[in-house]
């Protein structure tokens, strides 16, 4: 047989063409409301990425330093030992100090040094930099304790950035975060599609995520929380699918893979483990799959998680940190009292009971976490909406909770039939919230920082959107869409207001 007669190349090109046409079909099949929301989310997120000056998101300077060090050297920075130029490379340090970017962090009255008298020397310095000036951010970088998955993803964007300037590489890594956000938006549609056939309800759920001000501003910076949000939203969507349709090999292994991804993204990601156990238990209890198959899928999934954690352990051994040190080190502070923890959590949400001591730590609770820093505290949390806006959001949230309770009562029969799904979603929610409170309490035993902000709740943004949509679909048929319009309109206003505030804060 001659080369021309060999079928392989033809087969390969045929395969490629089939694959391309499959992708085209899939793209064409994208529901139009989702396509419009994805385009909107992309515009918003890109605008945030352009308006926020470099390193002006929570801990972005340290997250970027991690990405840079990993991309340049293949190693994570040390979270425990000083080395090289310190926590940031010589290049990043010089940019932060000479252009006022370090002083800008959290100082509401400061402005970055945009003047040509500062910019010209910076550009000259950057042109003269040796490669070594990008590789010497060896540590001590407190973010170095984080697992490497997000940083490895970002390091790819850093390496393929078409611009070799610092701002160019920063924008490339920010755009990589934006892609994660767009995935989150699409996954919310997938999760909502499992629960409702009404397209407007899917649009509401997805729109609430696409327009959530804190999430969109976070998506425009370099921060591992971005991948955590995407992984948790994927986990939510796949959990609902598994609970509704029953477990199979792909779903069980998929859930385990997402669990591994969560654990390899951030220390807070380990909160997904109890959620996985409950979701799988509820799915098996409801659908009763064959025991042998279940054990086989579960074995494969658990092996995947085990291998991931082992790889992470080997990785941390290289940079001097411990497995989930950020979450577990506080345990060594000692003084753990379950009653004190219970009192702290109670007083986080509710007024104290007569028998309770004042909680340890600062005056910090529901309002600060679930309202102010969940819906919008930008920059290094210093750019905030006026207090009347937070008061209005808090009132709306209270009404929303009452409405949710009412909807649950009214639709209790329907919910009872789907109780395994409700249990799964509740498990996902409570797993994260419980871990946040536990870590916060342990941190307060050793320092005054409660170590808990609304941003940490963003992995549950899909749950928030689905719960709100559940309320909207519980309203009389004519009112639901109007309620959706009201919510989406408010979210657009918050978005544009937030962007405007950030522009004024940094450049006016």
């Amino acid at each position: 047989m001659t080369a021309a007669q060999r079928p392989e190349p033809a087969t390969r090109s045929g395969r490629a063409s089939v694959s391309a046409s499959r992708w085209t079909r899939r793209l064409r099949a994208t529901p139009r409301p989702l396509a419009v929301l994805l385009a909107t989310a992309a515009v918003l997120s890109l605008a945030w990425a352009l308006v926020l000056p470099p390193f002006q998101g929570p801990d972005e300077s340290e997250h970027f330093a991690y990405v840079q060090h990993l991309a340049e050297t293949g190693r994570a920075p040390s979270p425990t030992t000083f080395g090289g130029a310190g926590s940031h490379s010589t290049e990043q340090t010089r940019a932060m100090d000479t252009l006022g970017l370090r002083l800008l962090m959290g100082t509401a009255t400061a402005r970055p040094s945009w003047s040509e008298a500062d910019q010209a020397p910076w550009r000259a310095f950057e042109r003269s930099l040796p490669d070594a000036a990008r590789k010497d951010g060896n540590g001590l970088n407190p973010i170095g304790k984080n697992p490497p998955l997000y940083y490895a993803y970002e390091a790819v964007a850093y390496r393929i950035s078409p611009s070799s300037t610092l701002w160019g590489r920063l924008l490339a890594t920010r755009i990589a975060s934006i892609l994660l956000f767009l995935t989150t938006v699409a996954l919310t549609w997938a999760a909502a599609s499992e629960l409702t056939r009404r397209v407007w309800a899917r649009t509401l759920a997805t729109g609430l995520v696409a327009l959530q001000p804190q999430l969109v501003s976070l998506s425009a910076i370099v921060n591992a929380d971005n991948l955590l949000v995407t992984v948790w939203t994927a986990f939510l969507a796949l959990s609902i699918r598994t609970l509704k349709r029953g477990p199979n090999a792909r779903r069980v292994v998929g859930l385990c893979a997402l669990t591994a991804a969560s654990a390899l993204t951030h220390g807070r990601g380990i909160a997904i483990l109890p959620a996985l156990a409950i979701v799988l238990a509820a799915a098996c209890w409801h659908h009763r799959p064959a025991l042998r198959s279940t054990l086989r899928w579960l074995g494969a999934g658990l092996a995947l998680i085990g291998v991931s954690l082992l790889a992470f352990r080997l990785f941390t051994a290289g940079n001097g940190s411990t497995l989930y040190g950020g979450q577990t080190n506080y345990i060594h502070h000692g003084g753990f009292k379950p009653k004190e923890l219970a009192s702290l959590v109670w007083q986080f949400y509710l007024p104290p009971l007569p028998s309770m001591q004042p909680p340890i730590g600062p005056a910090y609770g529901y309002r600060q976490m679930y309202i102010e820093t969940f819906f919008g505290a930008f920059g290094w949390l210093e750019v905030r909406y006026p207090q009347r806006v937070y008061a209005a959001i808090q009132l709306d949230a209270a009404c929303g909770l009452v409405a949710l309770y009412t909807a649950v009562v009214v639709r209790r029969r329907e919910l009872w039939a789907q109780r395994h799904v409700a249990v799964g979603v509740l498990a996902i929610t409570l797993s994260l919230i419980a871990l946040l409170h536990l870590v916060s309490y342990l941190a307060l035993l050793g320092s005054p920082d409660p170590l808990i902000v609304g941003r940490y709740l963003l992995p549950l943004v899909g749950v928030f959107a689905l719960a709100t949509t559940f309320v909207a679909t519980s309203l009389p048929r004519k009112l639901g869409p109007l309620f959706a319009a009201l919510l989406l309109g408010s979210a657009v206003a918050l978005q544009l207001g937030g962007l405007g505030m950030v522009l004024l804060r940094f450049y006016a």
Partner: protein
């Protein structure tokens, strides 16, 4: 006449746009009209972490180097307070750099902490120079400063030639405020300075944000409300 579901879809989309318009008119428009002084640089800003004041005896002078003076700077501001009950004295602020020297008197007479501003002649182009404050009166005065290490990496004050662990607060404002809309081109130029994307991308995004985003979300809702209920997702 559109059918009822179509009317409801239009009504919902209109309500969404009305909410955005209402928020714009009541919350954003008043701020667009604001005429606060626009910043022309904050070499040592207010509100940093470590307050560290500098006491200026009569005739003493505090100087800080590496101060950027922007070509747009029309007003300089520092902060002072009297150490006791006697009012603050007059101060002399000197700004100097390559080809530029400006001396202005800062009014005294304050019995409480206050910000003191004076109009200055801006340099022909932005430059890095030195700012000095001299006590011209017969009583001491406290010049508010910062010991924040993030400030001191850039500049550090000397008092009569002796190095201090502080820098006195100094900010510049433009001489006239034109309102947010008029200042928008400058703000976009400043933002573009810190981005790999040029100002053109900011200008492209602006109409997309202000008009495109509300319309797109309204269109998404409209399309959704006009769509029939979706089939169950496939069992993949």
């Amino acid at each position: 006449m559109p059918s009822s579901p179509h009317r409801r879809a239009l009504l919902s989309a209109a309500l969404l746009l009305a909410v955005v318009a209402l928020a714009f008119l009541t919350q954003m428009l008043p701020r667009l009209d604001r005429h606060e002084a626009t910043s022309a640089g904050t070499p040592v800003p207010f509100g940093t972490r470590a307050q560290a004041d500098i006491a200026l005896a009569p005739g003493s002078e505090a100087c800080e180097p590496h101060i950027t003076i922007d070509a747009a700077a029309g007003t300089a501001t520092i902060a002072t307070r009297p150490p006791g009950r006697r009012p603050t004295p007059q101060l002399l602020l000197t700004l100097s750099g390559p080809g530029y020297r400006e001396r202005v008197r800062l009014a005294g007479g304050a019995t409480v902490a206050q910000q003191v501003s004076a109009r200055i002649a801006s340099p022909a182009r932005s430059l890095v120079g030195t700012a000095c404050v001299r006590n011209m009166g017969a009583v001491p005065v406290i010049v508010s400063g910062s010991g924040d290490p993030r400030v001191l990496t850039r500049t550090r004050a000397t008092l009569d030639g002796r190095q201090q662990a502080a820098a006195f607060i100094l900010t510049f404002q433009e001489s006239a405020s034109h309102g947010v809309l008029a200042d928008l081109p400058d703000m976009i130029d400043r933002a573009a300075t810190f981005s790999a994307a040029g100002p053109w991308l900011f200008w492209l995004l602006l109409p997309l944000l202000v008009l495109g985003v509300p319309l797109a979300v309204a269109v998404a809702l409209l399309l959704a409300l006009r769509s029939p209920d979706a089939p169950e997702p496939d069992d993949g």
